[in-house]
Amino acid sequence: MSDRALRIAAAVVALGGLGVAGYLTWAHFADTSVICLSGGGCETVQESSYSEIAGIPVAALGVAAYAAILALVAWDTPAARLAAAVIALVGLLFSGYLLVLQLFVIDALCVWCVANDVVIAPALAVLTSLRLRTNA
């Protein structure tokens, strides 16, 4: 896979992440309960005590991380690539923690969150890490 293709893929995946996290952040601040495609998992997850850190919704942290990665992918210096990969790895590990919470602690799954935790965050971590192996 060429570096150009990796870069485009990383940008597309980060945009997808920005969309999901943005939607969940909007739902949080709009004081609207998010509806799931099935069951009430989204509402349970989104309103659980794990959905905020010191008053900041975790979805908003996602928005910040994805926006930062998009900016770093656009900037595209070696340092920016490294920073993007580091942020994506932090995001991946934190997503893993959120997935474990949903599965074993909150006992509810939010499809929006799972899309982020299982697809978007891992894909972005792989893409940004692979780009470290190519020269700028």
């Binding site: 739902a27 709009a30 004081d31 609207t32 309960s33 998010v34 509806i35 799931c36 069951g39 009430g40 509402e43 349970t44 309103e47 659980s48 005590s49 794990y50 905020e52 850190i53 010191a54 975790v58 210096t77 070696p78 340092a79 690539r81 490294l82 990969a85 580091v86 942020i87 790895l89 932090v90 590990l93 934190f94 923690y97 509810a108 470290l132 192996r133 190519t134 020269n135 700028a136």
Partner: protein
Amino acid sequence: MAATRPAAEKRPSGLVVVLAFAVAVAAAVALVAVALFLRDDGGPTSVPTPVVDLAGIPQQGTVLGAPEAKVTLIEYADLQCPACRSYALNVFPAIVDANVRNGLVKTEFRGFPFIGSDSLKAQRFVLAAGLQNKLWQLQEALYRNQGQENEGWVTDELLRELAGEIPGLDVEKLFADAESNEVASTAETGFTEAQAAGIPGTPTFFVKIGDAAPYVLQTPSDSASLQAALDDALRG
């Protein structure tokens, strides 16, 4: 000269990458630790006394307000939904005082109990209270005492206590009605109808002017924005 890349553009060395990833892991661990440490695990704080006085306002089933009121405010709600609670405690009282008590607006409850089993049970009981034209009092009391979602907070004890505080509500009849097939069927029909109507979440508000088709309102964040929407409807 043109063939030489500046040093800053070379890819980072393996050591730098390993160090950066170690920092990432440490940062993730720290983030999780902070998240767990700062977690607020308390449920909503219960409010002991009613936030709105509904005495003297006509009620018929799921509708609060004068039957002849020109404007109807329709609310799709789930009794477990924190945003619905926020509306009920912070916005609804002002709306009642300025619009419903004077007969200009009536408001209709439509249940959308999608969060879980506590939602459905609460829904059955408010519908049963509606058979005694006390739906809005019981709904308000449940919001004031809302617990953590799906943790079984809608207990018979809580319902009995709250219902007992509502003047004129026959508690035994309430329990009998709540268990009836008729109320269970109404609750489930309301759920499927809301789903079929594509209601995106709760609370969702519609305004109906006379017999015209209802139109959706953007979820109001405060009583002023909802009041402005109702004023528009009253003029329209």
